[in-house]
Amino acid sequence: MRLDDLADELDAVGDELARASTTMTLADPGARPFGADAAGALGELGRALHLRLSTVLADRSRESAAHGARFGDAAQSVRQVADGFRDVEDAVRDRHDLGSS
């Protein structure tokens, strides 16, 4: 695999993680199935059980977005490496061309 392909794949996975972060909270079924509308301790428990889920969905969404950005940064670093190699190759070729002329 070429370095540019690796960078493209890192970017693609980063984009997937970022996309997943925007839809993560859609898995939240809402508070009603937990009995959160009820009064008293039962309703409190229902709201707490739902809050646990909605909070961790938001956490995973945030973490997924941040990790997507890390993949993007890694892709950028790999592209810089590839550019560096190309510069070195160009310099060697130029020197070789100069030497042979």
Binding site: L3, G40, L53, D59, R60, S77, D83, F85, V88, E89
Partner: protein, 226 residues
Amino acid sequence: MDVLERVTGAGLDLLDRVDRVLASGGAPATDPVWPLLRVVGALPGEALRFAVSLDAEPLHATSMELRARSREFAGHRAALDVHVATGTWEGAGADAFGAWWRALADYVGDGTSVDQASLAGRLLAMASYVDAVVEWIDYTRGDVAMTVADALRSHEAVALRTSTMDDDLSRAASTIGVRVLATFSDSLRNGRDLHDEWSQRLSGLPFHPPSESPPPPASGATRAHL
């Protein structure tokens, strides 16, 4: 239709009668129904409406969605892992990238365990949490249905419908109220235990970068596929 749905209509009719008797002060101050009312914070009829409102179906869908996400994340990581392992370049820069890739990949995880501190692992843990809530809902609905069915067959239910004596009504309401609220008290305890048990396993997931910096451009590299 589950068992609770079968007894809901008759159960609400009976427990609403219980609620009316209890709300009008129809039990002695030392009656065991009062401590249970304080624990549950709802009259028996209100508590039954809570159980009826518990709905496992949307939670099944949530659990499946979270497991699918976990597999998806692990799949992205596995595919890239194969490509990284092909040895795109060698040297100090490649070593630095390898350390970074390991940290990035570990954070995504392979989705093999709910206890794995990774995105895929936490998604599995969330699915398992939702499954545990579904199980709690099923148990609660089942236990409440059995309790209500027993109450409907009791002679206290007959008394509540036919007696005109305040003492008979009070005793019947208290007896049924204690049975129903005790079931909800158990359900509350189990639900709170479930809530507390999962708090650590669903906690935030800090990223730990490797001690080395990201790969420097072409630094110390000896070979690469461009």
